[in-house]
């Protein structure tokens, strides 16, 4: 599965989330993401090996027309804002529209309120995030790339949701435009899914 994530530190933390998920480490200073960066990790869902290919898209407004090109072919997206900055939360609607418009309509979208470790500087209440998610039919979670809190869960829950959709037949797995690719089959009975959860974690209009 391809998952896209975007962030830089001054922003909402997309690249940090990705690094925490793929390498299990935190690096506070990142270069600005140019266009898109990549990360990949194997996970296991219901006994099946799934490779998450994550696209970490640039959060900078000026890259927006380029990041739009990457939405296509994503099975899932993580939409990230910074709980310590209300402006990033306010931008969510435009990013969400962008993602919905340029991707598969079945794309699984998870809303992430990042930097939950900075409780003292919180500007956006958890309830606000929950309400926004409910209104737009998203899954919601607060994470901290720094302490790794909920990072694993955010990616894996998104993957599970995609996996479920695949099993329900919502995604046409033969169509690669959905960002899902079937991997090698070890045996007839033991099919391995190597989908691409093309999530794109767009930071709420940061920087």
């Amino acid at each position: 599965m391809d998952v896209e994530v975007t962030q830089d530190y001054q922003c909402v933390g997309k690249s940090c989330l990705l690094l925490q998920f793929t390498d299990k480490r935190f690096q506070p200073v990142h270069d600005l993401t140019i266009g898109v960066e990549f990360g990949a990790r194997m996970i296991t869902i219901e006994g099946k090996q799934i490779k998450l290919q994550i696209w970490d898209t640039a959060g900078q407004e000026s890259f927006r027309s380029i990041t739009r090109s990457y939405y296509r072919g994503a099975a899932g997206a993580l939409l990230v804002y910074d709980i310590t900055r209300r402006d990033t939360f306010n931008h969510l609607t435009t990013w969400l529209e962008d993602a919905r418009q340029h991707s598969n309509s079945n794309m699984v979208i998870m809303l992430i309120g990042n930097k939950s470790d900075l409780e003292s500087r919180r500007e956006v209440k958890k309830e606000e995030g929950e309400a926004f998610a409910q209104e737009h039919g998203l899954i919601f979670m607060e994470t901290s790339a720094k302490t790794a809190s909920n990072v694993e869960e955010a990616f894996i829950d998104t993957a599970k949701e995609i996996f479920q959709k695949i099993q329900e037949g919502v995604f046409d797995i033969n169509n690669e435009a959905n960002g899902i690719k079937i991997g090698p089959q070890h045996a007839a009975t033991n099919a391995t899914l190597a989908g691409n959860q093309g999530g794109q974690q767009a930071g709420g209009g940061c920087c």
């Binding site: 140019i34 266009g35 898109v36 990549f38 990949a40 290919q53 696209w55 000026s62 890259f63 027309s65 380029i66 090109s69 990457y70 296509r72 072919g73 690669e176 690719k181 991997g183 090698p184 089959q185 070890h186 391995t192 190597a194």
Partner: protein, 499 residues
């Protein structure tokens, strides 16, 4: 191989055998003279390394042997129908059935003709089986009779081609004479020539509709599938180019570059669609000019003066990159190249010194150099393939980043044509570098493998050259993806000027 039509079958068979040998040894025969393989010049992309030609080889061996056994036993035409069928089925069957298939042929020949089996026939069948096994070993054990499926998957397309070729010629055989067999031989050679990477003709076999990243992905998945069923072949996996290329995110960058390229192409087309008359002609001429910068001159890597000092490449790439005026640096690329060169260098030092344990492993670092065993040829091969995959992946990343930044378009003071020229120069530098590196690795392999048998060493050396050549193809293809991007940036720059 042009043969006179009336040449006897026997001669033909011999010629085939020779050629056969040649085809298999294209790389290996150059063990002593490694510069001979111009890896960077070829433009082809075979899907799965050596397994294809080797499987082909076996099929050919088999057929050649079949032909000769038939020559000895044929007297009546009733037999031919069976033979044709048998050939068809064995051609598409697995290697494991090769020996079996041949005894089948003989049995059928016997029963249908009522001739007692001459003892040569059975010994010949045995030879064939042995030969098949030999070539199976020579070809990296990929066609191991125990585990035939991988080579079959790899060579599936080719087998069906053979069957068709044989099918097409089938009628000629039945109504014709022995000459027809010669024709089959030639035809088979043609088919093989197309399938063998050494013949540099694979291009036509490629499905032109699929994108490069798809092809690479398929190759990678095939390999994953293969390794999933063959747990024991851990070393093989280590050295699989496609998997490594993906590990370095080469596939992802290539896919992303394809997306940008496709979208740019659409935008360029829509702009062209809005224009007419003189404006249209002018734009077309400009775009054409840009396109010319993308036609890489056939470059040869025969200059032997090539870089002794590693600085050249880094300087050259950096210089070219600065001409692009995009706000990123090719550091990863130059570092990957440096470490590849260091690796090749330390490997050659090691092989030069032979005896003592050497400090070579760039992956592990220099700390545990003391315990380091002398590297086996397999290890050298694995490191070589890894370096090639890394360098290629980073080259493609550089192209992708360049595309993103060009489209980002905040620094348009550079003309698109100038960027095109710099990029095309960069492509040439990269390809030459790959060729240079592959020669270096091949030299190491040759030196390290003096005690190895040819059938162990040769496929490894061939593999390095093959992947270097593939790498060069990928880079050149990725470079071509930049054309629509630069065209679009050109159009945008023009639009800004007129405003």
């Amino acid at each position: 191989m042009s043969q006179k039509d009336n040449k006897s079958l026997e001669e033909d068979t011999c010629a085939l055998d020779e050629n056969d040998q040649k085809a298999e040894d294209t790389g290996p025969t150059e063990t002593d003279d490694v510069e001979a393989e111009p890896a960077a010049m070829t433009r082809k992309r075979p899907e799965s390394k050596t397994s294809e030609p080797s499987a082909m080889q076996e099929a050919l061996d088999q057929k050649v042997q079949e032909s000769s056994s038939i020559k000895q036993s044929q007297t009546g035409w009733g037999y031919w129908g069976n033979w044709g069928k048998n050939l068809l089925s064995t051609a598409s069957a697995t290697v494991a059935t090769v020996g079996h298939g041949i005894s089948n042929v003989i049995e059928k020949a016997e029963t249908s003709l009522g001739i007692p089996s001459p003892s040569e026939l059975s010994s010949e069948a045995k030879n064939v089986t042995e030969e098949c096994q030999n070539s199976a070993i020579a070809s990296d054990c990929k066609g191991d009779p125990e585990n035939p499926s991988p080579s079959i998957t790899g060579a599936f397309g080719m087998f069906s081609t053979i069957s068709t070729a044989v099918q097409n010629t089938g009628k000629t055989v039945i109504s014709g004479s022995l000459d027809a067999l010669e024709f089959i031989g030639k035809k088979t050679m043609d088919v093989i020539a197309e399938g063998d990477p050494g013949f540099k003709k694979t291009k036509g076999l490629m499905n032109r509709n699929s994108t490069l990243s798809q092809i690479l992905r398929e190759a990678k998945e095939k390999e994953e599938q293969r390794t999933a069923t063959e747990v024991s072949m851990a070393t093989e996996t280590k050295a699989h180019y496609g998997l490594l290329f993906d590990e370095f995110q080469g596939l992802a960058h290539l896919e992303a570059l394809e997306m940008l390229s496709r979208e740019s192409e659409l935008k360029v087309k829509s702009v062209i669609g809005t224009l007419s008359g003189a404006e249209l002609d002018a734009l077309k001429a400009e775009l054409e000019q840009l396109k010319e910068a993308f036609s890489l001159a056939e470059f040869c890597d025969d200059e032997e003066d090539e870089k002794e000092e590693g600085e050249d490449f880094t300087r050259e790439i950096k210089g070219l990159f600065s001409q692009l005026r995009v706000s990123t640096k090719p550091d990863k690329l130059t570092q990957a190249r440096s470490s590849a060169c260091e690796l090749a260098h330390s490997l050659s030092m090691q092989t030069a010194k032979e005896e003592r344990p050497k400090e070579v492993d760039q992956q592990v670092g220099f700390g545990d150099a003391e315990q380091e065993e002398k590297k086996s040829v397999e290890d050298i091969h694995a490191s070589a393939i890894r370096s090639l995959a890394e360098l290629t992946a980073y080259s493609i990343e550089v192209f992708h980043k360049t595309a993103a930044l060009v489209l980002h378009g905040q620094e348009q003071e550079v003309l698109a044509t100038d960027r095109a020229k710099a990029l095309s120069q960069m492509t040439i530098v990269l390809c030459k570098e790959l060729s240079f590196l592959s020669k270096g690795f091949a030299t190491c392999l040759t030196a390290a493998g003096v005690e190895e048998k040819g059938d162990v060493l040769n496929p490894l050396i061939t593999g390095v050259f093959l992947e270097a050549s593939n790498s060069a193809s990928y880079i050149q293809d990725a470079f071509q993806l930049l054309l629509p991007v630069l065209q679009l940036s050109h159009i945008q720059a023009q639009a800004e000027l007129t405003q």
